[in-house]
């Protein structure tokens, strides 16, 4: 791979990065759809609604009128968003007071609860559905192993990248499945409310997520949160000089306002070791050090960010609550963030909350029919692509929920209203299946 002299094209590098984010999102959605199909087909119309923090205001029952359901759903979602806002502000406060250790322990604890209890419950559902003759000792040992290694994977920064990514996707899948158990109107209202909240929290100057990101940037610290980071695209070029030119990808350049270059190199690394030897190469090969173009630093330290203003385009994203049941109701708050940003290594980071709510949307669509699943999946991926493009243009933390959720919901209702009728009629008349 390092032998061929052909430089990678912009399309390949861009495409590779997009794929590395779209793939895990797709996997998460796919698994939630499978879970929903398997587990909900058995208990078809038994209203297996969960009474949880998201339904304390109003618990939907199928006998209510539409208007009641609508207002109840709105009330539920408002309460939920209010709780999330409060929790996010608490998290910002804790981060401001430098209680990072506490946040990390909390994150580990919530990961353990999600993997252990939620994962255990879903595994029990599957065992009951398929009548798997597993005994309790084996089950407990396996579950304990699974949860413990998962906690280590999100806690410790140095586990195999694949394992960490896999566990994050799993956590997203489990929480998303739990959310699909909410009553239907509440789910849709919740999605809309959270999309709006995300928009406000990340973009408004008083928004908690924006405060969090600015704090993290100003302190050069990492936000202790569950965030999925795509593996940075590593370029293997034999001639670094050419490599730098080809790696100056258009969508990552920023005009530098002033010529001062702070010690961005060190501040940018987030505990990911960057080989210092290659930095020398870049210094010599970059023609004008005080140039107006800045390039993103890849993991091997071969491209540098020189941006005095925005030192570390970080993740940021809004806090997001995933309560579950009567158990620790505020357990996973704010530890799974939504939104999208660039990691210090130039890799794209997507908050786990985005995974969860995309999957919730698709899971809900799966409860209706597979047609809506396809439509919503395409809409969400398109929305994600648009968000990535905006990320490339604006180079700052952006909310990843609004565009995708808006497109997803729009396509869900359009499919349900128009496409279904069309396809059904075509099938009935043997025109198209």
């Amino acid at each position: 791979m390092a032998q061929n002299q052909r430089p990678t094209s912009i399309l390949e590098s861009l495409g590779e990065e997009i794929i590395r984010i779209v793939a895990p999102v797709s996997i998460c959605m796919f698994m939630v759809v499978i879970l929903v199909s398997i587990l909900n087909s058995s208990s078809s119309s038994s209203a297996a609604t969960v009474s949880s923090i998201a339904t304390i205001a109003y618990n939907e029952s199928s006998s209510d009128s539409s208007w009641d359901k609508f207002t109840g759903a709105l009330l539920n979602s408002l309460v939920f968003v209010a709780i999330i806002t409060v929790a996010t502000f608490v998290m910002v406060l804790l981060f401001y007071l430098r209680c990072v250790k506490f946040l990390k322990y909390y994150m580990g604890f919530s990961a353990f609860v999600v993997l252990g209890f939620l994962g255990g419950e879903i595994a029990l559902f599957l065992i009951e559905d398929f009548d798997v003759p597993v005994d309790c000792f084996t089950f407990l040992v396996v579950l304990f192993n699974f949860a413990a290694v998962g906690v280590l994977a999100v806690f410790m920064s140095k586990m195999p990248i694949l394992v960490t990514q896999g566990y994050l996707v799993l956590i997203g899948m489990l929480v998303a499945y739990w959310f699909t158990l909410l009553p239907e109107w509440t789910t849709w209202a919740l999605l809309v409310a959270l999309a709006l909240y995300d928009l406000a929290a990340v973009l408004l100057p008083v928004g908690p997520l924006r405060l969090l990101v600015e704090l993290a940037i100003s302190r050069d610290e990492d936000i202790p949160a569950l965030v999925y980071e795509a593996r940075p695209v590593v370029y293997h070029e034999s001639n670094p000089r050419d490599a730098v030119q080809t790696r100056m990808r258009v969508w990552r350049e920023r005009n530098e306002i002033s010529g001062n270059l702070p010690a961005v190199l060190d501040s940018v690394s987030e505990g990911n070791v960057v080989s210092e030897s290659s930095v020398d190469e870049i210094e010599t090969s970059d023609s004008n050090p005080n140039s107006e173009s800045s390039v993103v630093r890849s993991e091997e330290g071969q491209v540098l960010i020189r941006n005095s203003e925005l030192l570390v385009p970080l993740i940021d994203i809004g806090g997001n609550v995933q309560p579950h049941g009567e158990e620790v109701s505020a357990s996973n708050e704010n530890l799974m963030l939504e939104g999208i940003g660039l990691g210090s290594s130039g890799a794209i980071k997507l908050g786990l909350g985005d995974f969860i709510f995309y999957s919730v949307l698709v899971g809900r669509a799966a409860m209706y029919d597979y047609m809506t699943v396809y439509a919503c999946y395409l809409a969400i991926v398109a929305g994600l692509g648009i968000t990535l493009m905006l990320l490339a243009i604006y180079q700052k933390a952006l909310p990843a929920l609004p565009v995708s959720i808006a497109l997803g919901i729009m396509f869900y209702f359009l499919t349900r209203l128009f496409l279904e009728v069309f396809v059904v009629q075509c099938s009935l008349n043997l025109l198209m299946f």
């Binding site: 065992i127 040992v141 195999p160």
Partner: protein
Amino acid sequence: MENSQNSNSNPNPNPIRIQNLVSSPIAVLWPTIDGSLGLSEEESVSYARRFYKFGFALLPFLWAVNCFYFWPVLRSHSFPRIRPYIVGSAIGFAVFMAIISSWALTFAIGGERLFGPVWDKLVMYNLADKLGLTGWS
């Protein structure tokens, strides 16, 4: 050995090395499966040791992750300090898997004929019903 391994804790100021980097890539052997994104050799020793020791807390999966993470160590013999822990993890994982799978298979295949009424008490779906674990409390 110094030439074939790279450790990030030693930024090599050797100009010949950089020259090599410019003209042709050095074949670097990383101890972790993540390659250049993973750990350096010094950090690897402490991580491998820690994973190995934690695995004794009934966590064979951690041993498996250890083997997976340091797969290059298992494949090549050029990391003498890390290798004992990884080999130990591999052996521990194999032993544990043998024990657990034999028990689980005996339980599953033997069923009631082998165990008698105890089987019903031990099997997971009955236990879940009895304890009401799937009521989504």
